[in-house]
């Protein structure tokens, strides 16, 4: 019997090693797998490479992981925000490597990894400093930049509901990076609000098929400490 349900976030991340590349879903707080990030901090893995759209806000979640100095490098599109002070301090101190990627290129590099694409040409960033040193090509009447996939060892994402095969549905704009990160990582760990019986999810409405998912943890939303 296939059963991807795992009892706790700690169990779901027990085999995550130092130096791993970890995708973390979410756009701001929407879709951020807060309890999985807490478990990653408690788990203690170091020298991580993190892939996320942002670089943490205020003092919890990804910001807390940065503050704990577990991250060597971050790939993201929009690190600088009014409340990204942990990132800002580490970056300015030279303790954190940043690879800044335009948001659509970030999404497509993640998608390409999950889809087995070796590389792709995108018009985004051509002629800008974010394309410096990259291979370019003129195709038809447009100029393109060659970009490579981003693979990950783990993806930590948040969905709304899952069955024991790992089929997922999301909630509103919290879907954001979840489906593409799920496909791009060797081990995708999902926190969900609710687990359901097989057959309870409408097959026409499943967003992420279970083949992309390894582990599912039901998380009862804790009253998170006010930042």
């Amino acid at each position: 019997m296939i059963d991807k349900f795992v009892a706790t976030p700690a169990q779901a991340l027990a085999d995550l090693r130092d130096g791993a590349t970890v995708m973390i879903g979410g756009f701001g707080n929407a879709g951020m797998p807060a309890e999985l990030i807490d478990a990653l901090i408690a788990q203690g893995a170091r020298e991580l490479t993190i892939v996320n759209n942002n670089a943490g806000n205020v003092d919890t979640g990804l910001a807390a992981l940065l503050k704990a100095k577990r991250v060597r490098k971050i790939l993201c599109s929009f690190p600088r925000q009014v409340d990204s002070w942990h990132f800002d301090a580490l970056y300015r101190a030279g303790e954190l490597e940043l690879e800044l990627v335009p948001q659509g290129t970030l999404a497509e590099r993640i998608r390409a990894a999950g889809a087995g694409i070796g590389a792709f040409y995108t018009p985004t960033a051509f002629g800008t400093r974010l394309a410096e040193g990259k291979e370019t090509r003129r195709i038809g009447d447009r100029d393109y930049v060659l970009e490579y996939p981003i693979h990950a060892d783990y993806a930590l994402i948040k969905a709304d509901r899952a069955d024991r095969w790992g089929n997922l549905v999301y909630r509103k704009s919290a879907r954001n990076f979840g489906p593409i990160m799920a496909a791009a990582a060797k081990c995708t760990v999902v926190q969900v609000r609710e687990t359901v019986e097989l057959g309870a999810l409408d097959p026409e409405a499943v967003v992420t098929p279970g083949i992309f998912v390894k582990r599912v943890v039901k998380v009862v939303p804790a009253q998170r400490k006010a930042a």
Binding site: F27, G28, N29, S77, P123, T128, S173, N176, V207
Partner: protein, 216 residues
């Protein structure tokens, strides 16, 4: 002359968005355009984080942390709106499906180069978001910005001194002084605010402008 304030600029841009358009509004000044879209026109707003059909701000107390726009502000969804993942969202942008992207800018060049993501300061922490995708992807890129910097220098320039977001991508510039089309043969002034002559606009702008030939 009667300079437009931010709300008047938003209203001016909104007037030009036609029925049925799919539109992405950048963070900041462009977001104001949503408040002035003509009633009775069905216009569908797109958000990079995976929404088509953004509705108005929710009433206080009814915010949903799973329903935010690209500026991470709470929004609502119109009846008929939908959600999708990030790669699909940027396929809409990059794949030329959006009719308009309305973006803020630090500078626009006479060739239509756009600079809006980085001041170029050596110690600045860079952040780009979806700006570069919108600049190359939307069918029409409309820029909204003040015409002059706080020091009185023209933000329309021969060559951008700030790092580029996209090359030759801007179609039209809306400022607090004028509406200007970017065309292969240069900048065409579509209109100026009340009390501002073409000659005075030309003096303030510093790069060559053309008078738009009006039909009739």
């Amino acid at each position: 002359m009667k300079k437009l304030d931010r709300k008047q600029m938003a209203a001016r841009v909104a007037r030009d968005i036609p029925e049925g358009a799919y539109v992405n509004l950048g963070i900041g000044l462009p977001t104001l355009v949503a408040d002035y879209l003509p009633k009775g026109r069905e216009i569908i707003l797109h958000s990079e984080n995976g929404i088509l059909g953004i509705g108005p701000k929710p009433p206080a107390g009814e915010e949903d942390e799973d329903l935010i726009n690209a500026g991470k502000e709470p929004v609502t969804l119109l009846t008929g709106g939908c959600y999708f993942h990030h790669a699909d969202s940027f396929a809409m942008i990059r794949g030329r499906h959006l009719d308009f992207a309305i973006l803020g800018a630090f500078q626009v060049s006479t060739a239509g180069d756009l600079a809006n993501w980085h001041t170029g300061a050596a110690d600045a922490i860079p952040a780009v978001g979806g700006a570069m995708d919108l600049a190359v992807g939307a069918k029409k890129v409309l820029v909204m910005m003040e015409h002059l910097t706080k020091k009185g220098e023209s933000k329309i320039v021969e060559r951008c001194t700030y790092p580029l977001t996209g090359a030759r991508c801007v179609d039209r510039i809306y400022t607090d002084l004028a509406v200007i089309d970017v065309k292969p043969d240069g900048l065409h002034v579509v209109e100026t605010v009340e009390g501002l002559s073409f000659e005075e606009l030309q003096r303030l702008t510093g790069v060559p402008l053309k008078r738009m030939l009006t039909a009739a």
